[in-house]
Amino acid sequence: MKIADKNTKAVDLVREALEKAKQYEDYHCFISMNEARALEKAREIDEKIAKGEKVGRLAGVPYALKDNYLSPEGVTTAAAKMLDNFPAPITATAVKKLEDEGAIMIGRTNLDAYAHGSSTENSYFGPTANAYDKERVAGGSSGGSAVAVALGIVPFALGSDTGGSIRQPASFNGVYGVKPTYGTVSRYGVVAMASSTDVMGCFAKTADDANLVMDIMAGKDPKDSTTLDKFWKEDLPDPKGKKIGLITDFMGDGVDSEVVRCVKEYAEKLKKAGYEVEEISIPMLKYGLAIYYIVQPAEVASNLSRYDGVRYGFRSSKTTDLDSLYQETRNEGFMPENKRRILVGNYVLSSGYFDAYYLKAQKARTLLINAYKDAFKKVDALLCPVAPAPAFKFGEKINDPLAMYMEDVMSVPQSMAGMPSISVPAGITKDGLPVGAQLSGWRGDDQMLLAIAKSLEGVE
């Protein structure tokens, strides 16, 4: 990506990004723009460069921010009516770290409200169109960020991934999507979805760009007690000789033949590049989605209990007493999918069902993690598709929650295990839609995955 220096003005980089954002307005990547502040910040950076002062590693680089990261510039909506007038009083740690290195946020991108969804159709502000076909979805929940990078508006954008929300839209739009090891990047200042699997990551066009952004964002944050000590290094490791397991459980029934073809071709490229690729079966993976759709709604129900219309956010006017204030505010402020997840979450947590669902799922999660541990005794990384099919048409799944959940079947198991997983552009279907290959590794092996992907960049 282009970084501002004596020959490249930050103002020009930011202007170009803003112009492209306008040019592609009909895709609806953005919920709000940050034009005035972005240009002001670019001028400050140009002045520093002119004076010979030190600037950061992302000096003048425009980026797009998923609208569930808090920062005082504009409002943070999480694409929900509940927060459509919420001027955040704090700044997310990830945003602060990027801004300290000179990155410039040009706008806030669209998502499924509260990141609940796999298409960006659950946004209160309307859906985002796919970068390759305007009649199809962007994927989700970080759809706006994926499309903004795919269209070349910005060189990188931030997303959050709880069960595939970075990887699936990256796959649908032919860009890199990085979901790091759980705890790599601080969750402080990001609207919480499911706290035990929420991770902050990014979209980019190259492995090196993604690596730079992640290196800046990663590290311990006293404001998020689950953050890990920084393990991310500046340079990618040498991936030579790594053994990769192609997961057969995700290459058969129910998977689109063009997706299978693209991922098989990616596996062939890996072989040609000198990697050992072998087939592997992990039968436990088939339970990943059921585990996720118990644990995640339970955590959602808990995290979203804070939206009560009292301290901040939307407050319904149809109230007569305190109880109706809570109930009407939550009825009007949440999207239907938010409400379904809260209801399911409270179902699996409620008296009489807790052992059968929630506790059972957390035990099954242990079995899933053990199955991954066994797999990594045989291979260094795992390869599979990101989603069962390429981008689908608007309206195809929006009224069938279970069909929408199936989108996540190949991306949630890694989330439940806290593992890193990236989506890498792998090919294009005969209908012209991008398909991603998903590389997953054991915790802490994030950069090895990027290094493997990088070694195939430009290989036909």
């Binding site: 919420f86 001027p87 009083p89 704090i90 759980y182 705890g183 035990s196 006293p222 007690s225 689950t226 890990l228 339970y287 059921a290 585990i291 759709y293 118990i294 129900a301 209990s305 009560d308 219309g309 009292v310 301290r311 956010g313 407050r315 109230t319 007569t320 007493d321 305190l322 109706s324 204030l325 109930q327 009407e328 939550r330 009825n331 949440f334 409400k339 379904r340 809260i342 209801l343 399911v344 409270n346 179902y347 699996v348 409620s350 669902y357 506790l359 059972k360 799922a361 035990k363 099954a364 999660r365 242990t366 079995l367 993690i369 929650p401 279970l402 959940y405 295990a417 806290g418 915790r443």
Partner: protein, 95 residues
Amino acid sequence: MSITREDVLHLATLSNISIAEDEIEPLIKKLDDIVGYISQLDELDTEGVEPTYQCFDMENVWRNDEIEDFEANREDLLALTTECEDHQIKVPKVL
């Protein structure tokens, strides 16, 4: 296992969400689909398996009980509420 009308109303109460009459029937169907799907975990033998609530087995993470500067002040935070008077958040009558 099937979700009933009473289940939906009970969950709405637990969740503090008002649900309109015409939303109940579609919700029964959708929640039933979801619960039917997640029930497949019944196939798994989890006897004697410890649950994983947190991937890194972290438990309580302590810090010193010291006052730290917060980036927002009292006025900033109170400005976020719909109704406020004399540094107090106003809500409708409780009783």
